[in-house]
């Protein structure tokens, strides 16, 4: 049988990673080479020849990537406006490393892929992924930032706290937060088949719970709780709060038909930022006595400001929240947002001394915390899917009526999916709030719901690996590729076309039309439409996963 020179996956891997290397360059070339190697290894034939071929192809791909990286270093990074990430943009180290590591990756992955026994193959792959995940932040971050000479490892932490817009580690942490959300939405939309368009609401609730209970915001309030509760405690509270709101919204609306549910959740997602904006001055009285009081006793005092009457109110009504008339209770700090939110701390509780505290901007601990959270959640959801509950969800998605006839309580099962999905979003929100240390209503707009939905749909509804992959692709495109493209296009146009033109307005016009980041929303929209038309089951469909799993 004649073998094609390249199969589709390989061609895409090489092409896409080459472009990525061209636009990101520097040490990112290594990441690109590794991803290309990974994909090539995965698509190799499962035999000796396959491994060899993968090695050769991997080497070729890595060399192409390195050449692109070289072009970036020598030309792209000199364009005006392009973020000059690596101070050593002309050194050959990253390029040589890219070739070596990329080739090794494709060989190793192809070898793992060729292991016949399924259980062992999976184990090996898992180990490989763990090793990659553990090495990654050190590889990416320290050399990038602290490259002051040939031996950078000698002084590994210097510069690691420097913040750079295009840090992969930061991008990956944010990606993991979104992946966590996507996993939750996957339960709701992927397993149970409920289209939830207001998923960001639960993310916001989780984040605000964290912001409220784990910052100085609460301390400043007029309550007896003059303390911060700490990340480890509040993260559960966030999940519980999100789950509670999931129950509150889900209980009345889940019996509705699917598209009505979509609208109700959409509305809910719109309301939460409004609430966050407006819950800065909360004052709640017991309503019935308040009503009587307002209607009768104050008829004469209508011209007076309500504030002046507050004392009179208090005499006749039962005050619940915000009783001090000069200081109403502040839940969300309105549009100015809550900041700073405390990072996690080990120890410093119950008499145990403070062992270690996370620092915002020091990415590596955050990276591992996010990794553990994500891996734990994926593991949990995997077990859930493989249980009685998970089967009930999927059967309900496949055929609600038949599932009902097989003894599944539809409303209860839907509600369970909704609540657990909300819980994961709450988790993600809590982590997010603590990580960025600042939340405001604007961070929880509708487009987050759609981004997360795009992740689930791109990767493959109902498939954990697929969803995580979808999250990575969309976020990398969003945080890295689009940003780079914008710089690149601006740089090129400025250098090549506009160097002789003295018309700042025209330059401005072209730049705002060609601003790649401005088309982010369109890109996600197109992902949804194109995936629905071409491959509604996603890149890694759930079925192959079900078939792979052995009893």
């Amino acid at each position: 049988m004649k073998q094609k020179l390249l199969n589709n996956t390989e061609a895409i891997a090489i092409g896409f990673m080459a472009v990525l290397a061209l636009v990101t360059g520097g040490w990112n070339t290594i990441v690109c080479a590794v991803i290309a190697g990974l994909l090539i290894g995965l698509s190799a034939n499962q035999n000796r020849d396959g491994i060899i071929r993968a090695g050769v192809l991997g080497a070729i791909a890595s060399i192409i990537t390195a050449i692109m990286g070289y072009i970036f270093n020598s030309w792209v990074s000199t364009l005006p406006g392009v973020d000059n990430q690596a101070p050593d943009h002309l050194t050959a180290y990253p390029l040589i490393l890219a070739v070596v590591i990329g080739t090794i990756t494709s060989l190793v992955v192809a070898w793992i892929h060729s292991i016949h026994e399924e259980a062992r193959r999976k184990q090996a792959f898992l180990i490989f992924m763990v090793v990659c995940a553990v090495i990654f932040p050190f590889f990416d971050q320290c050399p990038t930032l602290a490259w002051n000479g040939p031996i950078s490892i000698a002084n590994p932490t210097v510069g690691c706290t420097t913040s750079k817009a295009l840090l992969w580690v930061n991008a990956v942490i944010v990606t993991m937060i979104f992946a966590l959300q996507a996993l939750g939405l996957n339960i709701v939309a992927g397993y149970a088949g409920l289209l939830d368009l207001g998923y960001v609401a639960f993310f916001a609730i989780g984040a605000y719970t964290m912001g409220f209970l784990n910052s100085d915001h609460l301390v400043a309030q007029d309550t007896f709780l003059k303390t911060q509760f700490g990340f480890w405690l509040v993260v559960w509270g966030s999940a519980a709060a999100a789950a509670f709101f999931g129950l509150l919204l889900g209980a009345p609306t889940l019996p509705l038909r699917g598209d009505y549910l979509a609208i109700v959740t959409l509305g809910f997602g719109e309301i939460i930022p409004i609430a966050a904006k407006n819950l800065a001055e909360v004052r709640i009285f017991e309503p019935i006595s308040l009503f009587i009081n307002q209607l009768f006793s104050k008829a004469d005092a209508q011209s007076l400001d309500r504030m002046q009457n507050a004392e009179a109110f208090l005499k006749n009504t039962l005050c619940l929240i915000g009783c001090d008339p000069t200081r109403p209770f502040d839940f969300t700090a309105g549009t100015k947002g809550i900041s700073p939110i405390s990072p996690p701390v080990f120890g410093n509780i119950l008499g145990i001394p403070k062992i270690y505290a996370f620092v915002n901007g020091d990415y590596i601990p955050w990276y591992f915390l996010a990794l553990v959270l994500l891996a734990g959640s994926a593991f949990f959801i995997f077990r859930l899917r493989d249980s009685r509950v998970g089967r009930a969800w999927v059967s309900m998605r496949e055929d609600e009526l038949a599932a009902n006839a097989m003894g599944i309580d539809i409303v209860r099962t839907k509600l369970l999916a909704f609540i657990i999905g909300a819980m994961f979003s709450g988790f993600a929100g809590a982590f997010y709030a603590s990580y960025v240390s600042f939340i405001e209503p604007g961070s929880f707009a509708f487009d987050i719901s759609v981004t997360v939905l795009a992740m689930v749909i791109l990767g493959g509804t109902g498939n954990i690996t697929g969803v995580i992959l979808g999250a990575f692709i969309t976020r990398v495109v969003d945080l890295v590729v689009l940003e780079r493209l914008k710089q690149l296009i601006n740089g090129i146009t400025e250098k090549v076309f506009f160097s002789g033109i003295d018309n700042p307005a025209l330059v401005q016009f072209v730049q705002s039309i060609a601003d790649a980041t401005a088309y982010k929303v369109m890109l996600f929209g197109l992902i949804l439409v194109v995936m629905m038309k071409v491959r509604p089951q996603g890149l890694i469909p759930a079925e192959t996963a079900a078939q792979k799993r052995k009893a």
Partner: protein, 263 residues
């Protein structure tokens, strides 16, 4: 054959707007029998089934199962009480494997909760293991074989899908199994095999079966008693041979015009 009554329908009537789909049907099933329910297209057989299994609530009348009324209960509760069914146009969970389809059928007989799904205590591991073994046995029993257990249900051949649906319905150890046209769309050979399977069900699992069929050949071979519906009313009931010779039944099936222009 005079034994315990398993299910009794008393004057069940279902109206949709002005249309009376099922009209005052009385019906009794005894434990251990295979009861056939036949009738031409649109006679109200499936509507009767749907009333019994809780998809519809009867306009009038009651169903009494095992001595307790089940009228108007939700489908999942009725299934829990011990009535399980298949569907006229196969309704499997297409993306789930055959094995998982059967496991879903076992839903009400398992106890794992969300937390147990995560922590997997010994009890749940055992439960799952036993459930899987039982499901595989059931797949064997209906003739699916263990090789197809991991295949997605929608990729199974048609005849296997029918059998899988029966296995799924059996998974909850029902006292009464309702089969809605299990041989529809099959060729004579497949029909014969399926008929044998239904016979096996009763003999080996001791399940009581209520069978809706259009094809008289299938019903006559295995039913202990046959009831005939036409226009929502029960027009005949009794032993297959007797029913087959009933002129009302022949008329319902072959039509009334026979006398007019037959000669």
């Amino acid at each position: 054959m005079a034994q315990e009554v398993l299910l009794e329908a008393k004057g069940v009537t279902k109206r949709f707007g002005g249309l009376t789909a099922v009209n005052k049907v009385d019906f009794v099933i005894y434990k251990g029998m295979i009861a056939g329910l036949i009738g031409p297209n649109g006679a109200g057989k499936t509507t009767f089934f749907n009333n019994m299994t809780g998809l519809y609530t009867p306009t009038e009348g009651d169903f009494i199962f095992n001595g307790k009324p089940i009228t108007g209960l939700k489908p999942h509760i009725i299934q829990d009480r011990g009535i399980s069914r298949t569907f006229q146009n196969i309704r499997l969970f297409g993306q789930l494997s055959a094995l998982e389809n059967v496991l879903v059928g076992m839903h009400t007989r398992l106890n794992g909760t969300v937390f147990e799904a995560f922590f997997r205590p010994k009890r749940v591991i055992h439960e799952e293991k036993r459930a899987r073994e039982k499901a595989l046995d059931l797949l064997d029993f209906v003739g699916l074989g263990r090789d197809s257990a991991e295949m997605a249900a929608r990729n199974l051949p048609y005849g296997f899908q029918r059998r899988l649906e029966i296995a799924r319905a059996l998974a909850s150890d029902p006292k009464l199994l309702l089969l809605d046209e299990p041989t529809a769309g099959m060729n004579p050979q497949e029909k014969k095999e399926l008929t044998e399977l239904v016979d096996h069900l009763r003999k080996e699992l001791g399940v009581t079966v209520l069978l809706i069929e259009h094809d008289m050949k299938v019903v006559m071979g295995i039913s202990d008693r046959v009831s005939v519906l036409d226009h929502g009313e029960k027009i005949a009931e009794g032993l297959p041979k007797v029913v087959q010779a009933n002129p009302k039944v022949i008329e319902a099936y072959l039509g009334t015009g026979a006398a007019a222009e037959g000669a």
